[in-house]
């Protein structure tokens, strides 16, 4: 029971971040029919840009951040992340999409992913970094941990989950209620039709490519001080978002967010829960969900994924 609660709360926090990545993937897919393999790394770029402004490439202590400086750094990171997302769409995705070249955008976005990883890896050469924490979570409870129903839980987990949920609901509202959101949904339904009635399709999609990165980045940064970060951080988050989005077969963004939550809890459960003497353990945490989704899309694809057949 105790461990169950701990798994649930830490899983929801991690899952909230995955969920925003999943929602981003699914939105990009529904807008364009492509999968942005660079998504995780584009967000990683923003995270490390924030870290660079905040603390340089030197090792830092968690308490090293002052709020105004943090805000400035965050804005620099967000702007870079949005700009890189927009540039990826305009420079890599759109040209090949209009030519109907699948190999073009696949290889192009993968190239962007590896290029960003190379740049981050060359700048931040240590195997892992501590992300400075602007919020004084370590003062809450026992050095950042609070007891909930007998379980020791990181106070940050509540914050991360709440923030992710707010961002997800907020952007769902944005999609549902605003002019921008309605235009995006029109593009997702029928981009040619939207173009014909005068919706600036490329501009909107480019913006969306940037904004989904910003959303995911905010959640990732909120969670970042909880664990060590390195060049793989963004990539793996993007990968898990893709796994969650595929599990709901690129369904509506909120459903993808929910899948991300489930994935987070599932990972925590795989790592920690044992039934009697039987336990999977942390080694299985990352590989099992990927393997599951890999088989899932092979044996039970969505109708849309099949559609090239006729």
């Amino acid at each position: 029971m105790t461990i169950g609660l701990q798994v649930l709360i830490s899983g929801l926090a991690a899952g909230g971040v995955y969920g925003l990545f999943a929602a981003g993937h699914t939105l990009m897919y529904r807008l364009t029919g492509i999968v942005n393999f660079a998504f995780g790394d584009l967000v990683g770029l923003g995270i490390f840009a924030t870290l660079l402004v905040l603390a340089g490439t030197a090792p830092v202590t968690q308490a090293g951040a002052h709020e105004p400086r943090f805000l400035g750094a965050l804005i620099v990171g967000l702007v870079l992340c949005v700009a890189a997302g927009v540039a990826t769409y305009v420079g890599i995705v759109q040209p090949y999409l209009s030519r109907g070249s699948t190999i073009g955008w696949v290889a192009g976005t993968a190239a962007v992913a590896f290029a960003i990883r190379a740049v981050i890896g060359a700048t931040f050469q240590r195997s892992s970094y501590v992300f400075p924490d602007p919020l004084p979570f370590h003062r809450v409870g026992h050095d950042g941990f609070i007891r909930v129903g007998g379980a020791q839980v990181q106070a940050r987990a509540f914050f991360v989950f709440g923030l992710a949920l707010a961002l997800a609901l907020g952007s769902a509202w944005l999609l549902e209620r605003t002019r921008f959101g309605r235009a995006l949904r029109a593009v997702a339904d029928d981009s040619e039709g939207a173009r014909v009635v005068g919706v600036p399709v490329d501009l909107l999609v480019a913006l969306a490519f940037g904004l989904v990165g910003a959303l995911a980045m905010i959640a990732a940064i909120a969670a970042a001080p909880g664990e060590a970060v390195n060049a793989n951080t963004g990539t793996l988050l993007g990968l898990k978002g893709l796994v969650a989005a595929l599990a709901v077969r690129f369904g509506p963004p909120l459903r993808a967010f929910a899948a991300g939550l489930v994935l987070g809890v599932l990972e925590a459960a795989i790592a920690n829960v044992h039934l009697g003497s039987w336990q999977l353990g942390p080694s299985y945490r990352e590989v099992l969900p990927i393997a599951f989704v890999l088989l899932l899309i092979a044996v039970w694809p969505s109708r849309e994924a099949l559609e090239a057949r006729e």
Binding site: F37, A110, A111, L239, E286, A291, P301, A305, A308, E310
Partner: protein
């Protein structure tokens, strides 16, 4: 018995030799010379050349050549070739280190393990090619994360130490590995080239250019693509299984997803369209590495990161320049070394057996029903075709004509009702099986295969009549496969002659007019030797002067005993050829009879012209 077999083998060998000699050219001499020279490299002890590094590069070239089959021929963007290589490497390394297996069976087991991985994840080949990229991307990460998470398998950060072994009876030194890798590269390149030129290559290419058209002609999409995917995984697994012994240690960090990406870069850099492109791409990457390393040292950048950036940037350049790759750029120069193509030899028409083959093969549909969501597209349609007759299926837009064709040809499954070809119930038969049994269909759209000639397009329709069209026979260019290719070409020319286009056999499809493309599609369906032919909108966009010619063609086909069902809007063509007209409205057959009878009927008048309201 034995003597006869020997004599036949002798004849075949002489014939094959003669064919090889007539196809031999300067280019072939150069290729042989290059391979021979390359084989000598380890014995020359050139300064600064390390045989083990060269052998390793050759193994990579084998894996890349395999990837060329997936990316170039099948058009599937795979981001996971390195994962298959890793699967092969670790299977082989574990078998050698823990079980004491010799190198050759261990490497083959590595190849087999890669095939298993390909088959498990390969269901995605049925989907849009984008999903192959997604699946292989996940696979690349899965394999890498697995190796990192399970040190018991991968040997952890030290890697897995592989003991010394023999290879082909010799101690497995870098030199032996080099020669084996070179041999493997030549074999796989020659085999893949033969496959790409043969029937499987044509089918893969058709599937890449227009999947719906290819499958409607009876090409088996899942099987062909999965075959290419698995074959390419096998080559990677085998190369991995061998190369891991060369490097003496299986190190998980060497097989990260970037490794897969680099193989894809090599394929695109060298040119996916050419069989040798990927190997050339690997060589180019190697040369770039030779230049980049000192540069990176000069700039004090960490080497392995630099490598990544160079590969990524290179790829962006290749893609920006149109994405053809090195070998296709060189193609004009290579072409000069070739003998003026034997292509000019015109196959003689003949050997096409259109029409009834003994059994009474009429088509019957009973109570076909299909609903899409809440919309009932077809509501209990029954119809019958007898051989040697032309019937027309007409009706307003949305009346269910195309749905009817799709149910008959097996692209959609009916909710209720059945389709019989002769006595045979087709309920469980997929499209390609129906085409094989003699039920062919042309599509409504003018989709064509833009990279093929008219004759090649027609040959795609020959798929279901091939008995020796498998990849292995094509790779070995067996006598049967070559004989069959000749008869297929003859039949293709005859099918083109039936529609009056035999003069255009070698014309590339993009140079044909749209009505000629329709006729090529019709000839493709004819090449499958149908007994029943379903034709969707043959006269769409045809001018008045063309109608008579179309009518003549339809009559000629009907005359050979084929039962024809035309789905048609053009009433003039119907009047010229159709003995019977079936009128569909809102998913039901509302009238049937000769054109005049049908035109008189009230139901038809109201559904075509609207109820009279004055």
């Amino acid at each position: 018995m034995t003597a006869a077999a020997l004599a036949r083998t002798g004849t075949e060998l002489r014939r094959a030799f003669a064919e090889a000699r007539s196809g031999w050219s300067t280019g072939a001499w150069i290729a042989v010379a290059v391979v021979a020279l390359a084989a000598l490299v380890p014995f020359l002890s050139l300064p600064g050349v390390r045989t083990d590094a060269l052998a390793n590069t050759l193994y990579l070239a084998v894996a890349a050549t395999g990837l060329g089959l997936t990316v170039g021929a099948a058009g599937l963007p795979s981001l996971g070739q390195g994962a298959f290589l890793a699967v092969g490497a670790f299977t082989s390394a574990l078998l050698m280190a823990r079980e004491g297996w010799p190198l050759e069976p261990a490497a083959l087991a590595g190849g087999a393990a890669a095939i298993v991985a390909a088959l498990l994840s390969g269901g995605v080949v049925r989907l849009r090619p984008a999903f192959v990229a997604v699946s292989t991307w996940l696979l690349a990460w899965l394999v890498w994360l697995f190796l990192l998470a399970f040190p018991s398998v991968s040997g952890g950060s030290q890697g897995l130490i592989v003991p010394e072994k023999n290879l082909l009876g010799l101690s497995a030194t870098p030199t032996v590995h080099f020669e084996v890798a070179l041999g493997l590269l030549v074999l796989s390149a020659v085999g893949i080239a033969a496959v790409r030129r043969g029937a499987p290559g044509l089918e893969l290419s058709a599937l890449r250019q227009a999947p719906p058209l290819a499958t409607s002609l009876g090409v088996r999409l899942g099987r062909r693509r999965l075959g290419a995917f698995a074959a390419s995984a096998f080559l990677a697994g085998l190369a991995g299984g061998l190369s891991v012994q060369l490097s003496a240690v299986a190190d998980p960090s060497a097989y990260d997803p970037f490794f897969s990406f680099k193989l894809l870069v090599a394929v695109l850099l060298g040119g996916a369209a050419a069989t040798l492109g990927p190997a050339v791409g690997i060589a180019a990457l190697g040369l770039i590495g030779l230049v980049a390393d000192p540069l990176a040292r000069l700039l004090q950048l960490p080497l392995e990161r630099f490598d990544t950036a160079v590969a990524a940037i290179l790829l962006l350049f290749v893609l920006a320049l149109g994405g053809a790759g090195i070998v296709p750029w060189l193609e004009p120069w290579i072409a000069r070394l070739r003998r003026p193509e034997a292509r000019a030899r015109r196959a003689r028409a003949g050997g096409l057996a259109v029409g009834p083959m003994g059994n009474d093969a009429a088509l019957r549909a009973e109570g076909l029903r299909k609903a899409f969501g809440g919309v009932v597209a077809l509501d209990g349609l029954s119809l019958e075709l007898t051989r040697g007759e032309t019937a027309a299926l007409v009706g307003p837009n949305g009346s269910g004509k195309t749905t009817a064709l799709r149910l008959l040809s097996g692209t959609e499954r009916p909710d209720a009702g059945r389709v019989l070809l002769g006595e045979r119930d087709l309920a469980d038969e997929p499209t390609h099986e129906r085409v094989r049994l003699g039920l062919a269909r042309t599509l409504q759209t003018t989709v064509a295969f833009p990279e093929l000639t008219a004759l090649e397009s027609v040959l795609v329709g020959r798929t279901v009549r091939r008995r020796h069209g498998g990849a292995i026979k094509a790779a070995l260019a067996t006598p049967q496969a070559r004989e069959e290719q000749r008869t297929a070409e003859a039949a293709g020319v005859e099918a083109l002659a039936l529609v009056g286009l035999d003069g255009q056999a070698e014309t590339p499809v993009p140079e044909l007019t749209s009505s000629q493309r329709r006729l090529v599609a019709l000839a493709g369906a004819l090449a499958s030797e149908p007994q029943v032919l379903l034709v969707d909108e043959l006269a769409a966009g045809a001018g008045a002067d063309e109608l008579d010619r179309l009518a003549e063609i339809v009559e000629r086909i009907r005359g050979s005993g084929v039962a024809i069902l035309l789905v048609e809007h053009n009433l003039r063509l119907i009047r010229l050829v159709a003995g019977r007209v079936i009128v569909l409205d809102a998913g039901r057959a509302v009238a049937e009879g000769s054109l005049t009878e049908v035109a008189e009927s009230d139901v038809v008048r109201s559904s075509y012209l609207g109820a009279r309201r004055l």
